[in-house]
């Protein structure tokens, strides 16, 4: 069982390398060899597509975890800078500091003013550390709350991008009240008088994710995951070995389809052939269209209706059996 996305996509990596080589040869070879070289490229391309088709047509829960964590997947700022104009990043919680795991600011979405917030991962080592692996500290959630309040004040719809393994669990975060910050952010989202749309674009990691995901509409990319606990953590508790992550992922049913079936999200957004990381342009367009459609359906709701829609939706979440009272 592959432990990382890189390990899992190794067959594709190998064929990509072969393809790269074949293309280089084609550039240098003589006109007489050209036909053969091109045939070779076509062969590799077809082979690659076949492998992608096989691998991605039956992604299990664990494979989805790996794909959701792929380092080449578009991150929050990739969507924000492509889908929004006039983005001005705003910073700071006005209490303690600025958190780089959560970004946000004012922007235009298709000509309409909005507030956008997202959890941001880093792509190289320094960047990852700068973003604290998208694990927000209390000041991150308090920055989000500040932006949500501003959205409410100026009647601006909110779009949030969810992509975090978890909230930061460190000593610092604990002493500054990470639990309160998450809870207060959830509470604020329920008090909003403006429409909100949350998009889970990668990892929806437990409390850290729901902290910015209590929205009127919750959309989820096809290969992203949303879970109450990281599968490795669940495996460590259940079987005392984190290596059983695949088994735990299956038990937790953390896929978008499962969340939709249980009424916990509103929509699954299909990913392009071979996953979001293979075709940023297409996935960005899909996400943009879905946000537009969601905001459009929420457009006609009054502030009271928006609060009520949000409450009713989350109020209905849960599965219980209820027997008639015995006395």
């Amino acid at each position: 069982m592959a432990k990382s996305w890189k390990e899992w996509e190794k067959p594709l990596l190998e064929i990509d390398e072969a393809l790269e080589k074949a293309r280089e040869i084609a550039k240098k070879c003589s006109p007489t060899e050209q036909v053969a070289a091109e045939e070779r490229i076509a062969y590799f391309e077809q082979r690659r597509d076949n492998i992608i088709r096989v691998m991605y047509s039956r992604l299990g829960p664990w494979e989805k975890v790996l794909v959701a964590r792929a380092e080449t997947r578009p991150y929050a700022l990739d969507y924000i800078t492509t889908l929004f104009t006039d983005f001005v990043e705003l910073g700071g919680d006005r209490r303690f500091g600025d958190d780089h795991a959560i970004v946000g600011g004012t922007a235009m979405f298709q000509g309409k003013p909005v507030i956008v917030v997202g959890q941001q991962k880093g792509r190289n080592i320094q960047d990852r550390q700068y973003r604290n692996f998208a694990m927000a500290k209390p000041e991150g959630y308090r920055k989000a709350i500040r932006l949500f309040e501003m959205a409410d004040r100026f009647r601006l719809p909110i779009v949030s991008f969810v992509d975090t393994p978890a909230a930061d669990p460190g000593v610092e975060s604990e002493s500054r009240g990470i639990s309160e910050a998450i809870a207060a952010s959830i509470l604020k989202m329920f008090e909003l008088n403006v429409p909100s749309v949350a998009v889970i674009i990668g990892e929806g990691g437990s409390g850290g994710a729901i902290g910015i995901a209590a929205a009127n509409k919750v959309l989820m990319l096809e290969h992203s995951v949303y879970s109450v606990i990281p599968p490795e953590g669940c495996a460590a508790i259940l079987w005392r070995q984190p290596a059983e992550g695949a088994k735990a992922a299956a038990a937790l049913q953390l896929t978008a389809q499962s969340a939709l079936d249980r009424g916990l999200i509103d929509e699954v957004l299909p990913e392009p052939f071979g996953g979001a990381h293979r075709d940023w342009e297409t996935v960005t367009k899909t996400v943009g269209n879905a946000i537009e459609a969601s905001l459009h359906t929420l457009d006609s709701l009054s502030p009271a209706d928006l609060r009520e829609q949000r409450y009713a939706k989350f109020r209905a979440m849960g599965r219980v059996a209820e027997a008639a009272p015995s006395a």
């Binding site: 604990e174 639990s179 879970s227």
Partner: protein
């Protein structure tokens, strides 16, 4: 809860403190509300013991007693764990909810019982907390919630995570209605419960030395090289960090709640 730790050969007249390990007279111990007279260790209470020492005698009436968990994910061993917890505790899930009076003031209340699967919050606990807060909002009466939980119940997957949102949404209803909401953190109040309805109460009290934290202490320590304070993730640490209002000893809890409740409803009458 303490029964198994009885000193041996002493026909049940004695118990051993889980804190200092000293032998105590059971009767004195119970009269002292299950707090060790020697070291002050606050032993965990069952929901029933909590109701008895908190509310007016015989005033507690349970609501939502028919709610039961459903193993929708067919999660490994969940059904067995539920069945054995029900058999062991005599309750259907980790939270018991209802109505009571406190010095004559009607309140809506929920009491978590740690002995039921570590007080974990799945759909049933989330539903009971939500109904408790909704009853408070509808009747404009105070809500008093006693927390005792390791966090969200992993065996119900994402459904459990969504209970964080659902219960917190109900807090918004209380605020809207002007119904005061008091949370009491007892040992332990952790993770998904702490990061949702527990932390956004109007007033937060905690019993001495209760474990109060977001992540397991080991995870927290691993995440940083920073020195971990001795009382890290204890009620006293939360108090020092400004996250709770007061650490209240068990014998003063009832009177403190009573004072709070009478003042907080004063404005709306």
């Amino acid at each position: 809860m303490l029964g198994k730790k009885k000193a041996t050969g002493l026909d049940g007249s004695f118990v051993q403190c889980l804190g200092c390990k000293k032998t105590l007279f059971r009767r004195e111990f119970e009269e002292n509300l299950f707090v060790c007279q020697m070291c002050g260790h606050h032993h965990r209470l069952s929901w029933r013991q909590r109701a008895e020492i908190t509310f007016d005698e015989g005033s507690f009436s349970e609501a939502d007693a028919g709610l039961r968990s459903v193993d929708t994910l067919e999660f490994p061993e969940y059904r067995e764990k539920l069945e054995s917890a029900i058999a062991k505790t005599g309750i259907n899930d980790s939270v018991v909810s209802g109505r009571a009076t406190l010095d004559g003031v009607p309140v809506s209340t929920a009491i978590a019982d740690f002995s039921f699967m570590g007080g974990s919050m799945g759909s049933v606990a989330g539903e009971k907390i939500t109904r408790t807060l909704e009853r408070a909002a509808t009747d404009r009466i105070p809500a008093i919630v006693f927390c005792a939980s390791g966090g969200a119940r992993m065996q119900e997957g994402l459904l459990s995570l969504m209970q964080m949102a659902k219960t917190t949404a109900a807090v918004a209803k209380c605020r809207e209605a002007g119904a005061p909401y008091i949370a009491v953190f007892t040992d332990p109040t952790m993770a998904g419960v702490l990061a949702s309805y527990a932390s956004v109460a109007d007033v937060i009290l905690a019993e001495p030395k209760s474990l109060v934290g977001f992540a397991g202490a080991r995870v927290a320590a691993q995440a940083q090289v920073m020195k971990v304070p001795d009382d890290f993730q204890k009620a006293e640490f939360a108090l020092r960090s400004g996250m709770i209002d007061k650490v209240v000893e068990r014998r003063a809890m009832r009177s403190t709640l009573s004072s709070l409740v009478r003042v907080l409803i004063g404005g709306s009458r």
